[in-house]
Symmetry: C2
Subunit: 383 residues, 2 copies
């Protein structure tokens, strides 16, 4: 429909492989540093292997079949997805084994699509936290003639999703065991609120307390006959702790591939830390105020719920970013030395998952060379 | 590429025209109340006509050729766009007359596309705030053989874009007048920070002070020979004030079509106010905690920078929404009475422009009937 109009996608494709091509991209663009991404993927794969844990990284972070394939090539057993639509997007691009949908799929049309996706993928799993939902999914899977594996989602105290007691877990397991069309796979226990406890010792103490609770739920399930084969959980903030708890069988870490500003605020105590691999390149579009320049990336280029982006390159030390509406931000540096009209600056993302969701394409770079364009295939797939 | 997978777009198309179809949409969905939208469009058109002002509504709000056409049918002279990409998206869908790009177009590839868009549209305009940018645009337009009309962007004190003094405005006018490929159209003066001053009398006083400054800039331009034919500005928050100032020739209001929570917090003093026409329908997906249910719309369904959405329908009075991550929110009501698993609730958007940018499709309803599906054609067009 838009074939009569020039789009910068054509320009960007023409820059592939050219040294200096990154600086000639139109802006704002979502940028991935490929060597840093690959080092992050290798670090986490080596950690999980050494810990004897499976790795099912969370695609809600990257929404990218290309990044999923790199994680799987490094040893991951599949991918987690927040919503059915993300799983469909991965499967449509050939990443169709070992997908786990980590939040309940409830609406009638989504349950029907879930059963359809189960037919064309290998090892699809979904969490459930309510008997009615378990029965609905079982009926849909049964009608399609292929059982679907479900995990019991256990609420770690976040009160987002999950059963809230050992008794409720056992009752739900009994429904699953009695429902045709369902296979029981185990449990999920994702401590979302624990990931960003900045102090490492506090984070460890909080996770150890939660692991004690998880063990009581697993004991009750096991006593009833529902010992879980899979115990999935963990995130970038807690994964080094989770691996020592002796209760998880796999990790569903996501943000480690990119490391946003939120996670850089967390203490990890690592000699070889995860690196910032995701950023936005923006361009200076107005320079009329002393100590301030305006760039072309604003509320539509960055998620805003955890504050502003950081300034990574292209501006003097001490320059800070301030949101200036949908399409703009200010770089402020009272000492001066700010970049001139048309200059490119590189900004670090405040929270990677919803920032990625604002963009259609990863511009994959190695230093100043554009080496690939990857679609954000799961962007907007919230249904 | 995804043809092998069921998508709910097909389901949603199949529900068009069916009474009760809205409740059967998969969720989360961006919903427009068509009668309320049309009343808002008619109210603003009548106001501008009575005030003797042209109306060039801002498409950064809706990003929709369908809504643009309704505004133009009601008398609007065209559309404002925040970025070149939005203007291209409108033009590609047949809305190609009277487009004004309200922020500077600076990068070399964008300047080339601007000159190309000028060839296939009628009356395209763009703002400039720097002599170098004016010369670059003039050279590109000249090379294409069709002059481009530019407006001088005047900074109202926001320090986002615009020249910052009468002297700078005159100097830029002189560059425009001397640059082949450019036609001088007038000035833009958009007081973004004034739109959300909650108290009407304070808002009026602040705008009157700013109008005094604008008059001094216009006087200096006029004395130099650059009297502006177009003086564009105004927003939903100030338009009733702007129309009394005797300085604007046209209004670039945007949010009035939808009326988000931010604007509902503003005092307007109108007997016949603008109505909430934009909302998100979400579904309850978890119900295991007393006084709280979880819905399937979170950070990826709503812009977050001005706080949470409001609860419009489907939950008891007093229920409030809390963000619970990328894909979820909690509805909290200690008194109980919350909706059950699978129930649909309707949420009001906190800030309409960046909320719309998170969605691909408007689900247009008249009461409980789905009457149209409109693409958010300008979504993500930040370049």
């Amino acid at each position: 429909m838009e074939s009569g109009f020039a789009r910068d996608e054509d320009l960007h494709r023409s820059l592939l492989g050219q040294a200096g091509g990154r600086a000639r991209l139109n802006t704002p663009v979502l940028v991935v540093d490929l060597p840093a991404l690959d080092r992050n993927i290798a670090r986490m794969a080596a950690f999980a292997a050494a810990a004897g844990l499976k790795l099912r990284p969370h695609a809600k972070t990257h929404k990218s079949p290309d990044i999923a394939r790199r994680q799987i090539a490094a040893g991951a057993v599949g991918q987690c997805c927040a919503k059915l639509g993300e799983a469909e997007a991965l499967a449509a691009h050939g990443v169709s084994a070992g997908l786990l949908i980590t939040s309940p799929v409830v609406s009638a049309p989504a349950v029907a699509r879930l059963a359809a996706l189960n037919l064309v993928t290998d090892g699809l799993m979904c969490v459930v936290d309510h008997p009615d939902n378990a029965r609905a999914i079982g009926a849909a899977a049964q009608a399609k003639g292929k059982p679907l594996t479900v995990l019991i989602d256990i609420d770690p105290g976040l009160h987002r999703t999950g059963v809230t007691s050992a008794e409720a877990a056992v009752a739900l397991w009994q429904v699953i065991a009695q429902t045709p069309g369902l296979a029981y796979g185990g449990v999920q226990f994702y401590c979302g609120a624990h990931q960003h406890i900045a102090d490492l010792a506090e984070r460890r103490a909080a996770m150890e307390e939660r692991a004690d609770y998880l063990r009581t739920v697993i004991a009750a399930l096991s006593e009833a006959g529902g010992a879980p084969a899979i115990v999935t959980g963990g995130g970038t903030g807690t994964h080094r702790i989770d691996a020592t708890l002796g209760v998880f069988t796999e990790l569903q870490v996501g943000s480690y591939v990119f490391m946003d500003r939120q996670y850089l605020d967390c203490e990890f105590g690592l000699e070889d830390p995860y690196e910032t691999a995701l950023m936005v390149d923006a361009r200076v579009v107005s320079t009329n105020t002393p100590g301030l320049v305006t760039v072309d990336a604003g509320l539509k280029a960055f998620a805003t719920e955890v504050g502003p982006p950081t300034v990574l390159a292209g501006a003097p030390d001490g320059a800070v970013y301030r949101f200036m509406g949908d399409e703009h931000g200010a770089l402020i540096c009272k000492a001066g030395g700010l970049p001139g009209l048309g200059s490119v600056v590189t900004l670090g993302t405040p929270h990677c998952d919803p920032t990625v969701n604002l963009h259609d394409t990863y511009h994959v770079v190695d230093a100043d060379t554009l080496v690939a364009l990857w679609p954000v295939a799961g962007r907007g797939r919230s249904r």
